[in-house]
Structure formats: structure tokens, C-alpha cells
């Protein structure tokens, strides 16, 4: 018999709560299709991750992000029967978030965009993961400056960098989220790094000019 997580919590049945925490997302999807209360488990697993992700790629206000997030979860619930078991649930829900961000935030064209990267520690992962270029940048730039550089990148490049280095997704997952071939994802990441490097060079040149003056 299925017992909803709400009832478990109400009954303080710790053992069963622990049981549910060991279940995979895909198993909880199947359970949610039988009992909607299990959906709370998925929401709780992804609430924080998706909030950060939406914030990073959209640069929207807190309210915008909350609205989008709610929309993502409702939309995912409506389409739960369309979830492809060949994918990871995380890729599927990130894809929905990506699409919602595009449809929500492209409408708000007049609003100035401020891309936020919360947590400098995670931001530095970019530097740590991007090998020589990153190490060089780490020596020369502060987290604040790297944030400014990322803000200046094209949206498509910023998003792959966020997924690769901040969300720690592999190529396959990024391919499933953005619905692009893996080869294209690799190309986008390389171009994003290149654009990132060009931006840093521009900054260096500006600094040199300022010093001469």
C-alpha cells in the first residue's frame, strides 16, 4: 500500500522517510503517478538546485524566479507521463526549467538583466575546472571580475558554462537539457571558453591603458 510522504511525516515514521530518501527520482515519479503527495519529495530535492539554476541563467528578480520555479514544477507534474525513462529525471526537469526561463524571461525584454552567481566558492569552480586558462584567470582576477566577465558573455555561452561548471553537468546531461547534440554542446563550451578568454584580454588591455595614463 502506498503511503504518502505527508502521512509519513505526520506519523513521524522516520524509518519510512529514510526509505524514501534512498529511492531514485525515477522511482518517485512512478509513485507520484499513483499518489500526488509523493511529488513533494521531488520538489524538495530540486527546489534549491533549480532556484539557483534559474537565477544564474535568467538574472531575474526573486519574485520572477519563484514564479518560474512554481511554473516549472506544475508543468513537470502535468507532463509526468511524458517523462522519458531513458533520461535522468534531473536532466528532464532542468530542461523544463531551461524552456520556462526562455519563455518567461524573453518576454521581459525591457527589464535590465543582472546575472547573479551566488556563492563565490561555486563560481571559482569555473576556474578550477577550466584547466590552464582558469588557473591563469584565478591568479589575475577576483571572483567579482569573473562574474562581470560572465555577465558579458552571450546567453547561449553563459548557459553552457553555468551547466558545465556551476551545475556540474556532463556533456550528455547538457545535451539532454538544452536538446542539442553532444557535438554542438562541446563546440558551445569551447566557444564559450574562447569568448571568456577574449573578454579577459580586453580587460587586460583596458587596465594597461589605464596604467599608462
Amino acid at each position: 500500500m502506498c503511503v504518502s510522504p505527508v502521512h509519513w511525516m505526520e506519523n513521524k515514521n522516520i524509518e519510512k522517510i529514510e526509505d524514501i530518501s534512498t529511492l531514485s527520482d525515477e522511482e518517485i515519479v512512478s509513485m507520484t503517478l499513483k499518489d500526488e503527495n509523493f511529488y513533494a519529495v521531488l520538489i524538495e530535492r530540486y527546489e534549491e538546485k533549480l532556484t539557483r539554476y534559474i537565477l544564474r541563467i535568467s538574472g531575474g528578480s526573486k519574485e520572477d524566479v519563484e514564479d518560474t520555479l512554481q511554473d516549472v514544477f506544475i508543468s513537470a507534474y502535468k507532463n509526468l507521463n511524458d517523462f522519458d525513462q531513458d533520461l535522468k529525471f534531473s536532466s528532464w526537469i532542468y530542461r523544463i526549467a531551461h524552456n520556462k526561463v526562455i519563455s518567461h524571461f524573453r518576454k521581459i525584454t525591457a527589464r535590465p538583466k543582472t546575472v547573479t552567481y551566488e556563492g563565490d566558492g561555486q563560481l571559482l569552480n569555473i576556474l578550477a575546472s577550466s584547466e590552464d586558462l582558469a588557473k591563469e584567470l584565478e591568479r589575475k582576477y577576483t571572483g567579482e571580475e569573473v562574474r562581470a566577465i560572465l555577465k558579458g558573455l552571450d546567453e547561449k555561452y553563459r548557459e553552457v558554462l553555468v551547466l558545465k561548471f556551476l551545475e556540474d553537468k556532463d556533456y550528455k546531461e547538457i545535451s539532454d537539457i538544452l536538446e542539442k547534440p553532444m557535438g554542438t554542446v562541446a563546440t558551445l563550451i569551447n566557444r564559450a571558453k574562447k569568448q571568456f578568454k577574449e573578454e579577459t584580454l580586453k580587460r587586460e588591455l583596458t587596465q594597461v591603458k589605464l596604467m599608462k595614463n
Binding site: E66, L69, Q70, I74, K78, N79, P181
Partner: protein, 261 residues
Amino acid sequence: MTKLSEDILGKIKHDHIVPAARWRFLLKSYVFWGLLMVSVLLGSLSFSVIVHIIDFRDLNVFNQVHGNFFTSTVMLLPYFWFLSVMLFASVAYYNWKHTRLGYRFKRRWIVSGSIALSVLLGSVLYALGMGNQIDMLMSKNMPFYDKSKREARSELWMRPDNGLLVGKVVNVDPADDSITIKDETGQDWQIDEKNVQHEPQSVPKKGKIIKIVGKKEGDHTFAASEIRKCGNCQSDEEADSTDTKNAEKNGKDLDHDGDGE
């Protein structure tokens, strides 16, 4: 429970939101797969018509009249079918992209895969005679198509001064090694075929349309050095055959071509 999960579950319950039925997603998926297959099939049929209507032996005739085969109106219909193949390849691409795994392949692979499949399947369909069937169907039902076909044929082959002639056989005289043809303008030509080595399949028969390479000898006489069958003229030949049958049915005099039979 977090506030968000409470809010969302509350909304789901309050608004009676339920996951959409699985069959709806399956149906959508099947529709795209079905349209994908239809577009590949239509692309294949288009390719089979291309193979049917392009007669590459006409290339050497173009050299003879100093023309450019690929920019002539002779290629108008093949280009029409090429466009058709490209159109269906694009439709196939669109449908493929909407399948679950569509995004995993690059556009160039999907489009070239679809074209390759059309070429392969189209060749099979051509071998089964589908190219001919569709060409005839189009000729019968689309006047502009039929007109283009005739114009292309006339442009290349109605050049008696250049040694090229096309027309329908109205009389065959084996004793005299000569045949009579009627060209597109209704003009009769007496063809001397003494010097012709016929391909087995192109021995002139009454009602068939033939292409002749040779030399104009008089206003209505022509000495043939080569006679070719017309690969995509069946619609005209059939039209004639149908007319003849109808005429026979009505008991009319069939000898309307003035060949003295």
C-alpha cells in the same frame, strides 16, 4: 515539507491538476514518426521521378547544339522534383526533431540521412516503375507540368536544322526502311532509317514518340543516323492510345494522319 512543495501540492489539489494521459504523448510521438515516414516516402517518390525523367544520353545532344544542359529548361522539371526532394527532406527533419531523440543528431546528418534514404528507396521505387506512374499522373492532372514537359522536349529536340527531331510515329514502312512521324506542330516528316542501328527497345512502333539524330534533307524529309526511344513520353503515347480506342469504339475512321493506309 517546504513552503514551495506545500504551495504546489495545494495548487495541484485545489485546481484538480492531473498528469496528462500517457496516450496523448504517445499519439503525438506516433504522429511525428508517421509524418516522418510519409515525408521520406514522398521524397523517395520524387527521386524516382527524377531518375525517370532525366535522360543523361541527352547530354551529348547538348554538345551538338552548344547548349548548357544544366541551365536549360529541359532541367526545369528535374529541378522541380529536386526541390520536392529537398522540401520533403526538410519536413522529415522537422518531424525527426520533434521525436524524443531528435535533438541528439546534428541537422546535417538528419537532412543528409533523409536524402540518402530517399535516394535509396527512390531507386527501388524507380525500378518498380513508380517514377513513370507519378510522372504520368502529374502530366494528366497538372496542365502546367505537361506543358513544361512538352516544351523541354521541343526545346532540345525540335531542331531539324541541327540534326535533331522528335515526334510521334504515325506510320512504319519496313519495306522502304522509312517511317513517318508527326512533330509537335503537326508537321509530318518522312524519315529515312537505312543507316540506323536500332537499340532493341527503340525499334519504332506506331504511336510511340521517338527522338531522332540525323540530317535534314528536305522540307519534310530527314535522314536518321540514330533513333532513341523517349523515356518519359508515355503520357503522350497513352493519351494517343486512349484516343485511338475511343475512336475505334465510336466507329470513326482512324486513319486521320493522312498516311494513306
